[in-house]
């Protein structure tokens, strides 16, 4: 499918767009103040953090409004900042266009809400200030990632969010599990980064530029093979960041971080960066079917894997993490389809940002109430004690399973439809995924809010304070309405088209298509099944050792086991070998040489017997040799 022309970038200055750098700068300043300020800023730290996030949301909103003021063809505004690396990236600039601005709104909007929520959630943590500093740092980096007008700056943001996620996952450093999880997240991401780095090298070698305008406008010039290579390398990067197969393993561990972090970074925003990268680099992928195919396959594989993992987790956060994987799988699938899918991918990304954040925060609120118990088998019947949380969570739940007319319904359905058009197999697999989603999400809800109380003795749950519930409410509003607003009349697709292009004939939304109905049916079945197992029936306090499939799911499809077997163990072994080789081999050689000289000296000096006559002998022989040598040389 041929993409509609992407608009060219017009340089811009002045107005909110001209000041777009403020979006990044404000939270960055916040982070800097809070980190350098130290304990002095403990009192107002959290407030400053929130303030900065909100301020940057305001800027984003203003910029958005200003952007709408331009004709669609002129909605790509470049804001040049400062000279960076002559020869590679002469000038760093920002690119404010429908795509980036939608991300900005999501990041700053949801971000602000989560900031507010965290005030309550982290109230009792001695290091709350540091927490907010990291959150601000994250927001800044994430905004840089989406606003950058070239791959290098994008990469800076890309690693920045990685750092922030590392710091936040390991926020409770004293817990070895947390520290390990943080390290794992960073290292696995690094694997992806290698892909992205090499992709950039190839891009620069091919196009002699790293700016989006310089690369994407000329994507056609490059050979098929090159594009494929670049595409796949970019995909590796995307997989790392977005926890797609085969680099998914870090996301579940990442739940060691405080829940707001899981909501903001590991659900709403950072993990979707991969989708952004693919969509942003659209022209490259469109130039190579191979890469696109791989992208879609990865997407589908991950959405199924994530869903399956989700079904078996008793840890509420891990279950949600699994579902995040799965949902991002949907987005990647859509992004792989091309212009027809981009809009749905992003749309689903945004709505997912809302309802998943909503549910994570809800989960957080539950944990808060159950003094940080995460095992759903110890929950049950919470709907009575925490009604608001329950209500908002329910909204999110309905949205994600695609309950008609809620956000998820529209966006996910859109994706399934496009996938169908693209390839039936992928489509039906996506439908299957939806069914499983219906099951595991219902399972989660039933185990948590319905059924009998299975609480600990000391647990006396209560509704969370307003500072936490208000954000929940706002998020759930988004979860209800946003989907319809974006999808109906292709509003969002048209809005995005200047940035990512669009298919010639826009898809029209018909609610009663076969796939749509099938999806609904499967979801219903899944939900019903879940009700039988976990709603109506008694939930055992300890997980029964299920069938092989269950363990398979519980063990994250043996992802970690695989990593250990393939990389960790051989790695440790290799390390030991290398160290040994270095000490014994390389250094041994050096020292051995020295030792041998010393040894030979020790032996040779025995020649110096101290007997005059032996000395005389040496002279005598020496003389003879000398004479002999003269003759030899003389008669040569």
């Amino acid at each position: 499918m041929e993409a509609a022309e992407i608009a060219s970038i017009t340089q811009h200055s002045g107005g909110a767009i001209g000041a777009a750098w403020l979006m990044i700068a404000l939270p960055l300043v916040g982070a800097a103040v809070l980190l350098l300020g130290g304990r002095r800023t403990d009192k107002f730290g959290h407030l400053l953090g929130v303030l900065m996030a909100v301020a940057s949301f305001v800027v984003a909103a203003l910029a958005f409004v200003q952007l709408l003021g331009f004709a669609p063809g002129e909605r790509r505004r470049g804001v040049s900042l400062f000279e960076f690396i002559p020869g590679l990236v002469d000038k760093v600039g920002l690119l404010v266009d429908p795509l980036s601005i939608s991300f900005c709104l999501l990041i700053t909007g949801v971000g602000s809400l989560i900031h507010v929520y965290s005030i309550g959630y982290m109230a009792h943590d001695p290091n709350r200030r540091r927490f907010f500093a990291y959150l601000n740092l994250f927001v800044a980096a994430m905004l840089l990632l989406v606003l950058a007008d070239n791959y290098l700056a994008l990469f800076v943001g890309w690693e920045g969010v990685g750092l922030a996620s590392y710091l936040l996952i390991g926020f409770w450093q004293h817990k070895p599990s947390a520290a390990t999880a943080a390290k794992k997240a960073f290292i696995v991401n690094r694997v992806g980064d290698v892909g992205l780095l090499i992709a950039m090298f190839t891009i620069f070698a091919t196009f002699h530029s790293l700016t989006f305008s310089g690369v994407l406008d000329r994507a056609g010039d490059a050979s098929q093979g090159t594009l494929t290579a670049i595409g796949l390398l970019l995909l590796v990067g995307a997989c790392g960041k977005s926890a797609q197969l085969p680099l998914q393993s870090w996301l579940l561990d990442a739940m060691e971080g405080p829940t707001p972090v899981s909501a903001l970074i590991h659900a709403a925003t950072m993990v979707t960066a991969g989708v952004y990268l693919i969509v942003r680099s659209g022209p490259i992928f469109e130039g190579t079917g191979t890469a696109q195919l791989v992208v879609t396959i990865v997407g589908v594989a991950t959405l199924l894997a994530g869903a399956i993992i989700g079904t078996a987790k008793d840890d509420i956060k891990k279950a949600l993490a699994g579902s995040t994987m799965s949902q991002i799988g949907y987005m990647v699938l859509a992004a792989g389809v091309g212009p027809a899918g981009y809009a749905f991918a992003i749309a689903h990304l945004i709505t997912h940002g809302f309802f998943k954040a909503d549910m994570f925060l809800g989960a957080g609120s539950v944990m808060h109430a159950m003094n940080d118990e995460v095992d759903m088998r110890k929950y049950g019947g919470l709907r009575k004690v925490m009604p608001i949380t329950f209500a908002t969570f329910l909204v999110g739940y309905l949205a994600i399973i695609g309950f008609p007319l809620l956000s998820g319904y529209f966006t996910k359905d859109g994706i399934i439809e496009t996938a169908m058009e693209h390839s039936a197999v992928l489509g039906w697999l996506a439908v299957l995924g939806a069914g499983i989603t219906g099951f595991y999400m219902s399972r989660l809800v039933f185990m948590t809010f319905f059924g009998k109380k299975r609480w600990d003795a000391k647990a006396h749950p209560h509704e969370s304070p307003a500072v936490m519930t208000v954000p929940l409410l706002l998020l759930s509003i988004g979860s209800i309405a946003l989907g319809a607003y974006l999808i109906l009349g292709n509003r969002f697709m048209i809005f995005l088209s200047p940035a990512v292009g669009a298919p010639e004939h826009l898809p029209e939304f018909h609610p009663f298509s076969a796939p749509g109905l099938a999806t609904l049916a499967l979801v219903a079945i899944g939900a019903a099944f879940a009700w039988l197992r976990y709603g109506a029936a008694e939930v055992p306090a300890t997980a029964p050792r299920g069938s092989f499939l269950t363990t398979f799911a519980r063990r994250d499809l043996y992802g970690d086991a695989l990593n250990e077997a393939l990389f960790m163990r051989p790695g440790q072994w290799l390390t030991r070998l290398a160290v040994f080789f270095d000490n014994r081999g390389v250094d041994g050689l050096v020292n051995g040489l020295a030792a041998s000289i010393g040894g030979s000296s020790g032996r040779l000096r025995r020649v110096q017997t101290g007997f005059v006559r032996s000395y005389a002998l040496s002279i005598f022989v020496g003389a003879a040799v000398l004479v002999g040598a003269w003759f030899v040389v003389g008669n040569l």
């Binding site: 010393g598 030979s600 005059v612 005389a616 022989v621 040799v625 040598a629």
Partner: protein
């Protein structure tokens, strides 16, 4: 051959420097004979120092007047640029060494007395001292001057003996460790005599070949006489043996460590500097003037000798635990490096000049450093006299940082670290060799110096990085003499290491005239 013997003409002016030294030596003997004991050393010292000084002044004066270009004394003694440069160097170093010698406590009271016997006690009690030391040293210095200047193999032989005989005796005069000292004297004497016999036999062969002992004439006869190569080869080789022995080149190096260790340290200093310089002067003269046309034969032989000497000296030294032995081996290694320079002399005059001046500079640099080093050795003592064993040097850097620092500096100079005289000496020789096409030899030299660096560094480690032994050696307050020696040597090492140009010019202009033919 008409039966009338023409009266020889002697250019006393040209020979004056040497004659002064010999004269002073003879006066010294007379002093020994007639002056009362308590006066002797008071008389000797000024005579000795003065004579050396005058001789040096004469050389300078003559240098300024203009270097003579013809050999003196009927062509027996060549007073040319190199000779005068070498004379000057030897005189300065001898002067310095005498300052060391004059310090009490180096020499035995009565050499003839059996160690530990009553009469030795008596001698010590009377504070008797062997004041003969001074005339002996003067004779040795005279020999050192005659040897490299000899333009005639016979004179060379005489010079060799005049230089060596006093040294044989001096080696036996150490106050402490009498047995070692006597043993050193005997070894040095027997082996020296042995080697000079070789030298003499070689001379005889050459005489047989060329019917002359005049180096120039021998050189001239090389191409002419035919069918006698056997004599020539044997002669050349055996003369080589005699000379290489004095240099201490492998495989004739065996005597050096033993003698250097046993001899009184000031005498060791004198030998290590003076003898080596004189020997190299003679070696160059003989093999350049007389056998220059034969270099095609001797260069390859020396090639091997040089390699053997450099590596041998360096490797043997690594495991030495006696400071004096270590320095002896190091001087062997340096002899090897200098041989590279000898080999570097080639056909083109410019090449010879650079090689020769390189060697001359090296000799000056090495001479000063080595005298300084041995002077330091004299100062580090414990109950048994000088502390020779390296373990006793541990932690010296803490107890007397200045002395240890100076010594470390000397060692670095030996190792040829830049900004010390040793570096430029080595560089000059190496560069000459490379332009002379002896690149492989230079590479071996580089490797050898890397190996050699190890044991210099080891001493520094001992002095600075390891903690002092409980009953470590005490450093005696240096007498003015010793202090002056160390200071002068250090100064020379620095100056030659930073501004070598003047001395290089001197050596260069000395080498310019090459050896008279």
């Amino acid at each position: 051959m008409n039966g009338t013997i023409p009266a020889p003409t002697i250019e006393y002016g040209m020979l004056a420097p040497m004659l002064v030294v010999f004269g002073a030596a003879i006066v010294g003997v007379l002093v020994e004979a007639f002056a009362p004991r308590y006066l002797r050393s008071a008389i000797h010292l000024p005579i000795t120092l003065l004579s050396l000084l005058i001789s040096f002044v004469l050389i300078v004066w003559q240098w300024v007047e203009g270097v003579p270009t013809k050999a003196a004394a009927m062509g027996a003694i060549a007073v040319d640029g190199p000779a005068m440069f070498i004379w000057g160097t030897i005189l300065v170093l001898a002067f310095v060494s005498v300052l060391l010698i004059k310090d009490e406590g180096h020499f035995v009271g009565a050499a003839a007395a059996v160690p530990g016997s009553a009469e030795e006690e008596q001698a010590l009690y009377e504070g008797a001292a062997h004041t003969e030391v001074y005339p002996l040293v003067l004779f040795a210095v005279g020999g050192m001057m005659l040897f490299p200047a000899a333009n005639d193999l016979l004179i060379a032989f005489v010079g060799l003996e005049v230089m060596s005989l006093p040294l044989y005796l001096l080696c036996g005069l150490a106050r402490r460790r009498r047995l070692l000292s006597q043993e050193a004297a005997m070894k040095y004497f027997l082996l020296g005599a042995f080697s000079s016999a070789f030298f003499l036999y070689g001379t005889a062969m050459i005489y047989g070949y060329a019917n002359s002992l005049d180096l120039a004439e021998i050189g001239a006869s090389l191409g002419v006489v035919g069918g006698q190569d056997m004599l020539l080869y044997i002669g050349g080789a055996m003369i080589g043996v005699g000379l290489l022995f004095k240099i201490g080149a492998a495989p004739f190096q065996a005597w050096k460590p033993d003698v250097y260790q046993g001899a009184p340290t000031p005498i060791t200093a004198l030998m290590a500097s003076g003898t080596l310089i004189a020997a190299f002067g003679a070696l160059l003269r003989v093999f350049w003037v007389a056998l220059g046309g034969l270099d095609w034969n001797w260069r390859p032989v020396f090639y091997g000798v040089a390699i053997l000497t450099m590596l041998g000296g360096a490797i043997f030294a690594i495991t030495q635990t006696d400071i004096k032995r270590m320095l002896a081996y190091s001087s062997i290694a340096h002899g090897g490096f200098l041989l590279i320079g000898v080999i570097a002399t080639g056909s083109a005059p410019a090449q010879n000049t650079s090689a020769l001046s390189g060697i001359l500079f090296y000799l000056v640099a090495y001479g000063f450093t080595t005298v300084g080093a041995f002077a330091v050795v004299t100062m580090v003592r414990d109950a048994g006299g000088e502390a020779w064993h390296l373990s006793r040097w541990a932690g010296l850097g803490k107890r007397s940082p200045l002395l240890a620092g100076v010594f470390a500096f000397f060692l670095l100079a030996f190792a040829g670290i830049p900004l010390t005289s040793g570096f430029f000496g080595k560089y000059a020789v190496f560069q000459a060799a490379v332009t002379g096409g002896a690149l492989p030899l230079v590479i071996v030299g580089a490797v050898a110096s890397a190996v050699a660096a190890f044991f210099y560094v080891r001493v520094i480690v001992l002095m600075f990085f390891s903690d002092p032994a409980a009953d470590g050696p005490s450093v005696v307050l240096p007498s003015r003499g010793t202090a002056a020696v160390v200071g002068l040597a250090a100064l020379a090492t620095v100056v030659l290491g930073v501004f070598p140009q003047p001395v290089l010019d001197l050596a260069h202009s000395a080498a310019q005239s090459l050896f008279v033919r």
